[in-house]
């Protein structure tokens, strides 16, 4: 490539030189952002997983496998990892299919070097990751080693250098170097000798497939090993750990619930006389699947962390109590704003205010409004309409039990209801503004046509506005649900000592665990479970709701 030397004339006057310069400039432009994103965006995910496999309080401690997950979720922790490794294999299979598709267009005899080079690069990547994560715990100890001593660069660098040479890291480093060398050699041979149009794609796909399959195999092996270990330990203590049966039953249960959904969908589309059969099977499948999950899940979760499970339950109640309400009111306001009225800009501006003002400040106002005092604003209003004053943010008892409902219908603590009211108040304006934009995108001719056909206000809303607004509804509900999983500030401010953990969502509980007890490993494992849940929910919502969305 550099036959003409690196002189400026060559670089500026040939096509290759210009492309090279453009590439180098682009990487220079991307450099700072890329490094920071790698450090604070990509690396943290792997790092969090790594931390979650250890006992880790401020500084790395011993490797404990999936024990943190077992502590958080009981046996379900192991089951979750089985599913995860299966998911990994599914991703591998998808990648392999793409690889085969590309390969079908090319000749196998000409392309096998590219495949081999890709596989070698994939292995080199894995070896690099392995080395890196062997290095991390050693490096992470440096701040403790140099603590108290004279912090000089020389000392830090000395320890830094020593960590590369420490046992384990050194061997992994050598393996990585060999791997990288092999990758470079094989890649350059392919690119010089066996180059074709498909080689680039094949190398990338093959590398990814190799890395994915090895990663999934590692996950599966980790899960199997940890499960066996846990079962053996239980046996020694004279107990039985029914992970396997639980895995089978719960997976079967969830599979049947999914099958029920598919059958239901088929049934809706089927002919009238067949629909009945589909519905019966759907119902049966749902009942059996539901029974299996209901029967097995509590036992699988029994050894889990009750506070975390309560955190998930609080999150679910919180989402269920805020998202539908705020979307409905937001849509109503947007619909009204869309009518031919004056002061539209004024209304829009005002409705947005609760959303843009700092959550800390407005939460404090709500803290005062919903104070437990008999003359606090909320209680004043209750007294006005003849209801007993409530203890609001100090109330542990649930809304339902205050109304005299039995326990299982009780629902959220009154203190959580205050937080829900606060959230709804904050997000209505935001939802309304975005709905308003969505309404503006619906072409006016449709309304006119409907009116000519004699449709009334409600029917126009039901059959034109709502379907055409479905992308906006979908977007807002996704944002709102993810928002409830991430909610922190309002709970931090509005919770009181009196209600204890009754208002802690999962993420608030994780934060507490991190800040008060410094259990980094355990907190990481819980954060990871939360991450998996959010991911699953997003996928689910995409499939279920995404299908109903009408994109016009």
């Amino acid at each position: 490539m550099f036959r003409g030397g690196l002189d400026a004339e060559y670089m500026l006057n040939t096509r290759r030189g210009r492309i090279l310069i453009e590439n180098l400039t682009a990487y220079a432009f991307l450099g700072p952002a890329g490094c920071l994103i790698a450090l604070f965006g990509l690396f943290p995910v792997a790092f969090a997983f790594f931390v979650s496999l250890h006992r880790w309080r401020r500084f790395p401690d011993e490797y404990i496998g999936l024990a943190n997950y077992e502590k958080a979720l009981g046996n379900l922790g192991y089951i979750l990892f089985f599913w995860l490794s299966l998911l990994g294999f599914a991703a591998t299979a998808m990648m392999a299919r793409r690889l085969l598709k590309t390969l079908r267009r090319a000749r196998w005899s000409a392309e096998w070097p590219a495949l081999a080079a890709g596989a070698v690069s994939g292995f080199a990547l894995l070896l690099t990751i392995d080395w890196f994560f062997k290095l991390i715990p050693v490096i992470m100890l440096i701040p403790r080693l140099v603590r108290g001593q004279d912090t000089s660069l020389a000392l830090f660098m000395e320890k830094f250098g020593e960590s590369f040479a420490s046992s384990g890291v050194h061997e992994a480093g050598n393996a990585m170097l060999v791997g990288l060398l092999a990758a470079v050699v094989s890649l350059s041979i392919v690119l010089r000798r066996f180059r074709s149009d498909a080689s680039g794609e094949l190398i990338v796909f093959s590398a990814i497939t190799t890395a994915l399959s090895a990663g999934s195999a590692y996950l599966l092996q980790l899960t199997l090993q940890e499960t066996e270990l846990a079962i053996a330990q239980a046996r020694e203590a004279g107990e039985r750990l029914p992970v396997w049966s639980q895995l089978v039953f719960i997976s079967a249960g969830i599979g049947m619930i999914a099958a029920a959904y598919v059958l239901f969908q088929r049934g809706i589309k089927a002919l009238e006389n067949r629909r009945f059969i589909f519905m019966i099977f759907s119902g049966l499948s749902l009942a059996v699947g539901g029974y299996l999950v209901m029967a097995e899940a509590p036992a699988a979760l029994a050894a889990g962390d009750d506070d975390l499970l309560q955190g998930f339950w609080v999150t679910v109640m919180y989402a269920g109590g805020t998202v539908p309400v705020q979307l409905t009111i937001g849509l109503l306001l947007a619909y009204l704003l869309f009518q031919p009225i004056r002061f539209r800009a004024f209304f829009r501006m005002v409705y947005f205010i609760p959303y843009i003002t700092p959550f800390v400040a407005t939460s404090i106002v709500f803290r005062v409004i919903f104070d437990a005092g008999k003359t606090a604003p909320a209680n004043r209003m209750l007294t006005l309409v003849g209801i007993e004053p409530q203890r609001w943010i100090l109330e542990r008892s649930s809304l339902g039990s205050l109304l005299g409902l039995p326990d299982f219908l009780a629902g959220p603590a009154l203190a959580l209801v205050v937080i829900m009211i606060y959230s709804t108040w904050t997000y209505i304006g935001y939802d309304a503004v975005i709905f308003l934009a969505g309404l503006g995108n619906i072409p006016g001719e449709l309304y006119e046509a409907a009116r000519i056909d004699g449709a009334g206000g409600w029917r126009i809303f039901r059959h034109i506005t709502l379907p055409l607004l479905s992308p906006t509804i979908f977007f807002l509900s996704l944002v709102a649900i993810i928002g409830t999983f991430q909610a922190f500030t309002q709970i931090w401010i509005l919770r009181t000592g009196a209600v204890g953990s009754k208002v802690n969502t999962a993420s608030v509980y994780i934060f507490d665990e991190l800040q008060n007890s410094n259990r980094y490993g355990y907190a990481s494992s819980m954060a990871f479970v939360l991450f998996a849940l959010i991911l699953l929910m997003t996928l689910f919502q995409n499939r279920i709701m995404g299908r109903r969305v009408f994109y016009g």
Partner: protein, 323 residues
């Protein structure tokens, strides 16, 4: 999907139905509901302002208006909550100003905001430009990789960020001495937020719309990419930059979880943490002072909102998130 909605948000006109007709009952009902909405939206603010001027017993009895405006509440809140402290030292003989010191949570938040926004622009503008207007190997892959980091919930990142920041801080301390610390200092509060994927995305979308003719003309005149970026693209990009500045401002002003973890003293503690501590720990009973402190916190954001309303609405609609 979101971006299609947004482009209309700021410029939305009334639906073409002609001028409003004289008042009828239906429309009257609409106004009633809308004004009720206004009352609910701003009611808590109005009472907050009113309560911030009251005596404690007036707040406890939920008076609507204070008997007398107690401006002292603000002075007390500013002092007790350590919000803002300006120290002017002048020479006792000549009266010439000798030194001048500002401290307090508001000042901290302002400093944090400035560093974050400037750093973020410096990092994100070239990256967005490269994604929008340059061709290089792996462009789409890198862009997808960047975007995928937006899906990761903050709580997962919290611990790795903390560990990374502590480690880098120790390294930088051994390089620069105590001033180089990251923990409980500005780097921990700002540097992790420099490379905002959202900012890169926003800028890239804008840079894509700049006509190619401009680039051709600049290239014929002998300008390369850096020159084109600085003298043509940036002057055209005031709108997205303003959006980033305003959103960065609210983001820093709101930040609570991360600063709670990485600040242990008042030197760099931002206003949200300060206010939260003031309310939950320092003054459990002084509701009037709490209200005054909240008003002080809200005012800068509201002022910015009224000035740069368009940037707020568009920016937030594009992110779907506030901070």
């Amino acid at each position: 999907m979101a971006s299609a909605e947004i482009s209309r948000l700021g410029v939305q006109k009334a639906p073409a139905e002609g001028p409003p007709k004289p008042l009828d009952w239906r429309r009257f009902g609409i106004y009633v509901v809308l004004f009720a909405g206004v009352l609910i939206a701003v009611g808590p603010f109005l009472w907050m302002i009113s309560a911030s001027f009251m005596t404690l017993s007036e707040v406890n009895l939920t008076r609507l208006l204070p008997e007398k405006l107690l401006w002292e509440n603000y002075a007390t809140a500013l002092r007790r909550a350590n919000f803002l402290d300006i120290e002017l030292v002048s020479d006792p003989v000549t009266g010439v100003l000798q030194s001048f010191g500002v401290s307090g949570y508001i000042w901290n938040s302002v400093r944090i905001t400035l560093i974050t926004v400037v750093g973020s622009l410096l990092v994100c503008i070239p990256a967005a430009y490269a994604f929008a207007r340059m061709r290089f190997v792996g462009r789409n892959f890198l862009f997808a990789l960047f975007l995928s980091t937006m899906m990761i919930p903050g709580i997962v990142m919290l611990i790795p960020h903390l560990l990374t920041v502590i480690w880098l801080g120790r390294l930088s301390e051994s390089l620069f001495g105590a001033a180089g610390a990251w923990f409980n200092n500005w780097p921990a509060l700002t540097i992790p937020f420099f490379a905002s994927v959202f900012n890169i995305f926003l800028l890239r979308q804008f840079f894509l719309q700049i006509p190619d003719d401009l680039w051709e003309a600049a290239r014929i005149d002998g300008a390369g990419h850096p020159r084109f970026l600085v003298s043509v693209v940036l002057p055209l990009s005031k709108a997205p930059i303003m959006t980033i500045v305003t959103l960065g401002f609210i983001g820093s002003w709101n930040a609570l979880m991360w600063p709670l973890l990485v600040t242990i003293s008042d030197d760099w503690r931002p206003i949200a943490v300060g206010l939260s501590n003031f309310v939950t720990a320092d003054t459990p009973g002084d509701l009037n002072l709490q209200m005054a402190a909240s008003v002080i916190t809200v005012i800068p954001i509201l002022a910015l909102y009224f000035v740069a309303q368009k940037q707020f609405t568009e920016g937030i609609a594009q992110t779907g998130i506030k901070s």
